[in-house]
Amino acid sequence: MKVMLAMKPAAKWFIPIEAESIVPKNFLSGTDLLVWRGNRELRLDEVFSVSVEGDADRSEEVEVVLSGDTFRLKRVGEYMDGGTITVLGGIGMHCGNFMSGGTIEIHGNADGWLGREMAGGAIVCRGDAADYCASGYRGGRKGMTGGTVEVFGRAGDFLAESLAGGTVIVHGDAGDMPGAEMRGGTLVVNGNCSRPAANMKGGSCYVYGTAQRMIPTFRKIGTVQHEGRALIRFSGDLANRGKGNLFVKGYEYLD
């Protein structure tokens, strides 16, 4: 089953729309769903032109395709457990929150908190991801616990904060403090970033570019070969009695 949701232009286009009802499973019982624009509850078809092709018995057989100006659409795919969501443009905050299965593919950029506290499944973002991609929630001890997030552009600050499991891969640069407080899982930044793995307890963080403003409390172990690259291996964060692994191609301190 293919569900096509094309965003209609709205007068108050700047008010964000919360649409946690947009998960593949919900379309098994029709398109009679509700979303919120600010404090107003609206029917799905007041916000989108909805069209459905074919039918399905299981979430896995549902593909939802979002088009139009979706960059202010929040919480799409929240608690998703199977099926596919394809976003042709950009997507708003909290896309794929708590998802445990299925795939979300975003062709444009993703706003903050992409895949927050995700437990399983896969998110692919072809553009850039804003701050707190694959992170946890305020005050939480564990962020993402499983699944994969792959960003082809760059990522903002606090990427994979409190990462506890799963894999996060960024092909471009990342901002400040990727992998802060991480305790498990794997984080890979292909480009440069600043202050990776601050206060880490466990897990592995790879930086194939330069780690700028490197945190001074990591112990240098030596050089290792990793997938054809020579990387410098550190262990830390000592300040936090951490036993995590940080691998970097190059690094510079703020000395």
């Binding site: 964000p16 600010g38 107003r40 945190i215 703020l254």
Partner: protein, 429 residues
Amino acid sequence: MIVKDAVCPFCGCLCDDIEVEVEEGRVVAVTNACELGTTKFMGEKRMKNPILRDGDRWKDITYDEAVRYAADMLLEAERPLMYGWSGTHGEAQCVGVHMAELIRGVIDNTSSVCHGPSILAIQEVGHPGCTLGVVKNRADLVIYWGSNPIDAHPRHLSRYTRYAEGFFLENAFRDRKVIVVDVRKTETANIADEFVQIKPGGDYAVLSALRAIVQGKTDTIPRTVAGVTREQLVRVANLCLNAKFGAVYFGLGLTMTRGKYKNIRNAIELVSELSRHTKFTISAMRGHYNVYGSNEVNTWMTGYPFGIDFSRGIAFYNPGETTAVDILARKECDAALIVGSDPAAHFPRKCLEHLAEIPVVQLDPYPNATTAFCNVQIPVAVTGIDAEGTAYRMDGVPIRTRKVISSDYPSDEEILARMYALMQEARER
């Protein structure tokens, strides 16, 4: 007439030993307050009555008309923002929260642009704090980190630290050491026993290094960290370890610089580390006299201290998304009520652009930068001068501010209660 033990409604010290001399309903002299406090008591020229924007002129309107305008504006909005609250009393803040819930709006206070990061850090690792009295009487080491009390909290030094007597200190002035950590040599740095100058954006690295040194892992620390030599770091760590009771006071130099709440978290974790060896506490130098109160009121009423979004009928909290600066910069609201603060004086331009596009009502005694963005401004009494109510000192101690003169101005609470009553009526219909 002399009013004794008046409370200064200016900074988070909330000094409660002020003497105010009143003649013919005007404040003529102030004793004990610092310059900032004195200026506030003496007052500036207030706005006389509510005003409504009429093209490019202002039109005088009645309080009833102004209250009605605000209530209608908020009831119509799909995502109203109610911001400010640090410059008013707790009773008014309570009405604000009730209103936000009723109209399903976002309520945020000025902590989102000052110590919000401190609160985020506290939510991650807790707050080993204490009252100012404990520091005054016990602390033999005080660290001001990214804060400059001589400028911002002038009597903090004389009432509680550098120049204060201490019950458990024989000779407080001699026995109490003061360390100042900052990116530039501030006036407070001049009166410190030790000044640590950090390169901008380097606080986090220095805090991490200190934590490792306290754990005895000095060997891994590079020779200099953000401009600070390893020798000085070791000396500072030893000063901390040798103190019987240490207190860290941090300001916007730590909360609003690179890394923000992670800086505070790191500082709290340093304090926890030190508390394995001696007694250490840490507290925020809160700016506005009742910004702490707005966090308290919001927390006991909604579970969250600032940035609370009631759009969906339940409280949702996510600073960075539900905070005023972010909402305005992203144009995510369609009306704003400003109470007890002046966002136009502090917010980035992008935010002000949106403020200029949406209807805005402000409650404030004085014309200020935000007035230029208002459709309606309602002058109110000043808490601590011609209105009374509860405020929370920077250490969380509630103090009831007093009325030192009488005026015809209604208080924030009265105006908000009238708006709220109109809204309840409208919603019942």
